[in-house]
Symmetry: C2
Subunit: 797 residues, 2 copies
């Protein structure tokens, strides 16, 4: 089933009725509300939807509504016979199948609710209640908590609190469970019990949260007997009760408040782009010529989808919120889905246990667990120390400081007197703070920044892509010394570096690199302090897929030829230990490529190179909030050790190793490690293995969540210059007569096509010049990816 838009219509005010517990009076409250809305001075039409009902049909809540709130449209989607939780009733398969489906899947249930509400919206219904079963976490038919299962709709909540002994606690806990799933509670109702007085306590409690609370009188006691007479008496008592409530309770005021909140929500969503246009200075955005219409209001997000607001005056009753695939994985951060309740709870737990704890001289469990988990799982025996910062840019600043210090320390250079540069690749990108901007060659990103001074040498490099059905490595024209372009039968073959490094191509790469460095040092007098690379894919520079052999050779040459960098160092200096660095410290920027973005824990593992410093961020927290780790070898660490405090790495941000980020990262990382161990990506791995003609034995595992067939087919597209996919990344380079690059507009047509969407949802994407890339969370459902693939095929083939 496709994802649905969250439930919002202009004229239909739909709410979900959750109970603080079972048997707190949800249906009575619904009846009262539906009666009241029909009795307003300007009467409105009401509807009542019970998605899942359990218990005897005679007792069904929708029948109660029809009986006591006549005029109300009612519907029950699924009725189970046993008065137990729906997940048990479903197991007992006693479903009465009003809609001929025995047990609906969760997404079917959600889609069915959306469909029903949409129909009502089109038919002039003003007010609708969707009543849940039991308490907020009572399981739905498939065993998932209702609060989770209905979350994609994110209906505003009418919470029926519990007026009984203990009801204060269950009501507040239920409220908290709803909040941590991103629901908005618009009102609280409960029975007035003047002995326990829960309403008094709860009124004060919810007042502080600007949530109105209304009490209604307690209903008459349930009939003790089961005979027809007793039932009739009960019926009369209930009818009398509802009449009394209608006369004696001011629910009209509450309905006004609910209406005001509904209107305010829509008005705010409509105003947000304009307000943002006034007050927000967007990152990486030229505001000249930008209009409010270029800004999208995002109501909420769930799994891989944003809920974006669309005003459509011509179709006032169309649903206002649309599921839009987050095709950049929110700037490459998204891993475990938007609105992930487990991560929300992780964040809340750490916030509740610690808040923030200043880090120097202290240790807390989330920071230590994360450090240990990373060092253990990253699989690089060199890395022994974890330095925390807040984002990839600051983490790379730290990495640069580490590398430069270690080199200057070993070679005895005085960096205050001479310029120490870095070795890197053209198109590299390490962040926007000025120090790491200096690690990239002059480009659109940095050259107008007043204090930018590129400090380094950047190699051009051979690139990998599929073109016309074949994996190709294209050698830049100026690097013909590297040999001819290469072709491979599979991506695995490209990554078979143990074989390739011994080949003639490998030898040519190494000699080219060695000679270039020698020339830079000897002829141009450059001094280098670190080799800095994004392994495999250079992200922001344009989704450039570097021939992994070139990166491997770079590291080997740098490490194998220390004499290149300092004449005093004989070429044969053996490493003190296998973990020692040699030549230059090797720094891997895995901010984008690491932690399963390319399908593996590290991108370094594709190269078979253990870095001396490695930086992770983005996916580290599963896509929730900023955190960065810079991992370093013991030898790098030792370069800062001395009796002088001033020799230390005097770097630290206020929220270094903040407990919330570390806890979320621990839980994200464990989840992703479990997914790997549990074979979560087996289907994609099989898809890519089958496509490989190479023996799978011993060959590195290369796969993508995007199908191999798509990559092959798109590579034949007329507008397509090249395409590749690896892990959760898909990249399509379009032909551009202007030569491509960041300022190219070639990909904008395809971007617009994706934004228009497929059959069931739109796709939000980012372009880098002539490159359109798509990225998914590591949990993205295959069906969604296949639907997007369909749009791409339609657009490009």
């Amino acid at each position: 089933m496709p994802p649905v838009g969250a439930a919002l219509w202009r004229s239909l005010r739909a709410h979900q009725v959750y109970g603080a517990n079972t048997d707190v009076g949800k249906t009575i409250v619904s009846t009262v509300l539906c009666n009241a809305i029909q009795s307003l001075k300007t009467p409105a039409t009401a509807a009542f939807l019970k998605p899942v009902s359990t218990g005897p049909l005679d007792d069904a809540d929708d029948r109660h509504l029809r009986r006591y709130a006549s005029g109300t449209l009612t519907k029950c989607l699924y009725q189970f016979g046993e008065p137990v939780s729906p997940h048990l009733a479903a197991q007992q398969k006693t479903c009465m199948a009003r809609d001929r489906i025995l047990v609906p899947r969760d997404d079917e249930l959600v889609a069915s609710i959306h469909h029903t509400l949409s129909g009502w919206a089109s038919n002039g219904v003003d007010f609708a209640l969707v009543e849940t079963a039991g308490g907020v976490h009572s399981p739905g038919p498939n065993g998932n908590s209702q609060a989770d299962l209905y979350r994609p709709l994110r209906l505003p909540i009418v919470l029926v609190a519990d007026s009984r002994l203990g009801g204060i606690s269950s009501s507040i806990s239920a409220y908290e469970s709803l909040l941590l799933r991103g629901y908005d509670v618009h009102s609280v109702l409960l029975f007035q019990d003047d002995y326990y007085k829960n309403h008094e306590y709860l009124r004060t409690y919810f007042q502080k949260k600007s949530i109105p609370l209304v009490t209604i009188p307690s209903p008459p006691p349930r009939p003790q007997a089961l005979g027809a007479d007793a039932m009739a008496r009960d019926g009369e008592a209930m009818a009398t009760y509802y009449e009394q409530v209608a006369r004696g309770t001011d629910v009209a005021g509450l309905l006004e408040e609910l209406k005001a909140k509904h209107t305010a929500r829509i008005e705010r969503l409509e105003a947000m782009p304009g307000r943002a246009h006034e007050s927000i200075w967007y990152p990486f955005t030229q505001h000249h010529g930008m209009a409010p219409t270029d800004i999208t209001a995002i109501d909420s997000a769930y799994d891989d989808f944003f809920q974006t607001y669309r005003a459509n005056p011509s179709q006032p009753e169309e649903g206002r919120l649309h599921a839009t695939f987050d095709g950049s994985a929110s700037w490459w951060t998204q891993g475990l889905g938007h609105g992930n309740p487990d991560l929300a709870l992780s964040a809340a737990y750490a916030a509740g246990r610690y808040g923030h704890v200043m880090f120097p001289g202290n240790i807390h469990e989330p920071a230590l667990s994360l450090a240990e988990t990373l060092l253990q799982s990253i699989g690089n025996p060199r890395l022994q120390k974890v330095f925390y910062t807040d984002n990839g840019s600051t983490g790379m600043e730290v990495a640069v400081k580490m590398g430069l210090r270690a080199a200057c320390h070993r070679y005895g250079w005085d960096a205050s007197q001479e310029q120490i540069s870095i070795l890197g690749l053209k198109g590299s990108y390490h962040g926007d703070t000025i120090g790491v901007m200096d690690c990239s060659e002059p480009s659109t990103y940095n050259k107008k920044v007043e204090w930018y001074r590129g400090r380094g040498y950047w190699f051009d490099f051979p690139q990998v892509r599929m073109s016309q059905g074949t994996w190709k490595i294209t050698i830049p024209d100026k690097m013909r010394a590297l040999g001819p372009d290469l072709e491979f039968s599979s991506l695995s073959e490209v990554f078979d570096l143990e074989a390739r490094v011994q080949s003639e191509a490998g030898q040519r790469y190494k000699e080219y690199i060695r000679a270039t460095v020698e020339n830079l040092v000897q002829e141009h007098g450059m001094k280098f302090g670190a080799l800095i690379m994004e392994p495999v894919i250079l992200g922001a520079g344009g989704m450039l897929f570097c021939d992994p052999l070139f990166q491997r050779c770079l590291a080997e040459v740098v490490r194998g030829h220390p004499e290149l960098f300092d004449k005093g160092t004989p070429r044969s200096t053996p490493s003190a230990t296998p973990q020692s660095w040699s030549g230059l410290p090797v720094v891997f920027d895995e901010v984008f490529t690491g932690l399963y973005r390319l399908g593996r824990r590290t991108a370094a593992s594709f190269l078979g190179v253990d870095a001396d410093v490695a930086v992770n961020a983005k996916l580290l927290t599963g896509g929730l909030l900023p955190l960065c780790t810079t991992l370093a070898s013991g030898e790098i660490f030792a370069a800062f050790s001395s009796r002088e405090k001033s020799d230390a790495l005097l770097h630290g941000h206020s929220y270094t190793a903040h407990a919330v980020g570390c806890q979320v990262a621990v839980d994200s990382l464990r989840t992703m490690l479990q997914m790997e161990r549990g074979g979560s990506w087996a289907a994609s791995q099989r898809d890519w293995q089958c496509s490989s003609t190479a023996s799978s034995e011993g060959s590195p595992e290369v796969w993508s969540a995007w199908s191999h067939g798509l990559v092959r087919d798109l590579s034949h597209g007329k507008q397509v210059d090249g395409v590749f996919a690896i892990g959760t990344v898909l990249s399509v380079s379009l032909k551009d007569s202007q030569g491509g690059g960041y300022t190219s507009t070639a990909a904008q047509g395809l971007q617009r096509r994706l934004a228009a969407g497929g059959p069931t949802f739109a796709v939000h994407s980012r372009v880098l010049g002539n490159v359109l890339y798509l990225m998914a969370s590591v949990t993205a459902p295959a069906e969604a990816l296949r639907e997007i693939e369909g749009v791409l095929r339609a657009a490009l083939l």
Copy 2:
């Protein structure tokens, strides 16, 4: 009452028993556990504590334990007669006053529990249960939720789940409410009900969280009648029930697991410093000579206190966790208390509603609300745009980029060809990324960083402090042109800038500044692109309290003399609008000083200067997680506007404007604004007003949470060179024959004295060379501050 250590002893395993709801069998579970622990092969001693009991004395839970779990030590601290929630019982004042206090305050109750458990620990009790009343959020005697009220103890939880219909939901919600307060749930027990089968669902649920779940048979039904016979029969039935449970249920395995978790917790706390020493690279820390004993394990934190672990082999039964005042406010971030449940819920809500949403081209409610709230509340009409980053350092990088671009744009400078510098103050500090390091003069912090190149001129400046009972402004020797040192009768007088700027001192300051800049530009050929200052207090540079008149004059000279910076600009160029910048863009770094750290929303308001760019972080999120805002004027914004994308501010971090941070900031900011409006700091304000001999009318409001009497008295201390307090900051400069500075050790003795603690808690503090400063949250209780003041007086007077 003093804060207590969290509850942890080596041999005593104490747990708190919470119920998913009332009437779920907490006391029966407690009885079963206490029986079982006494029946182990190696029997252990058990104790049961009911802090607050309601209902008839005959029914009291501790009596139930004495009857059915004989041998168990039992105690009830407060017994109320009515079987209602304790907050109602307390209102009815029917307390039976076993301990002769009618209604205990929450902190008394907590201290009393700690005292009781400590006594048991000393007397060889192995296992203790502290049973709550009702559900997790059932209010205690003063109306606060038990989950909040008992939180300082952070006992591991035995959660009694609900086996009835609806019990799945209430059990999970209760668990979530506990988790978001930072509790650890160590086990779940519930009655086995084979009709609803909640235990099956919950076992699977909790298994995923590694929490063992054990079922016990349901107890016999309650007696229907009230006579003595019925009671006797009930008694027999219960006795039989407990015998059956003891025979038929394997609770011993659970007790083993609880014991293992207890042991693991202590072992981990003991191992953490050593493990951290192995894996963590600490910020701002020289690791040479650092030992694991220099690292403090922090179990958790609450309000202004860390819970620090102390192993004490000589006193094995002493409490293991100690309340330690967070005297640096966790690197100046802390505002609303550690473990603040409201902020935890804010974070969880945003995480549940959005996760993270990539920002360019999108807008979501938390980012927009925060931007609008800041622009409205900050009170600077120049500021119109909000740029988001992750921390003060990145926010200042953005501010520098903004300032430089605006200046180069106006003056037509090509910064790629010539060096544009900044004007600042000596001792300034703006963060650790290399770009903003360059904004400070060479110092211990930066001079060994290989790529550091200070780019600016930094004025020395007159400093404010109280010495020998008098507020003094000391002019640096090399700046005698500014006149003699000054004395003031109150701090308000120091801040009476409208008068002082007109005075002779003001004229001298301005002339000195003008002449200095003129010389730098004309004689040394410098070009300046921005004036950058931390208003009032320069934090990391050594808690330097700059004469606000000097900062005011700096801004006035820069703005009043544009011709100084570019000859083409006539002196009299009128500003295009009152919001236009003139001379140089003025950038205020309020990362440390803003948002109530100095008692006001902005430190700029002390100077009467509206900056063109202002940066906030630290307190922005109330002390929870990283977020930074750079606010800019419309004219600064316009300097980046052009048809070229490459002219835009191409800066942006992945988690820019992350929803979790923005939501927490919105809620923190609103809370602090409400505190201001509600007069939360009135007592401190009165304390400082009374100390002022100046008329309070019209004079700026200057106050501190630290008492004026303390500042006055300490200023007479023999070792004290000077002292000041403002807002939540207290700073004591100690005499140092070596001349002070970052490498001074003069303050270490005082730091040790504070770490040894006062009567009830220790104080964690940070020193900056010869300066010891203390900082509190804006919610810090006066009693805690007075206790610390006592330690300072004892140490220094």
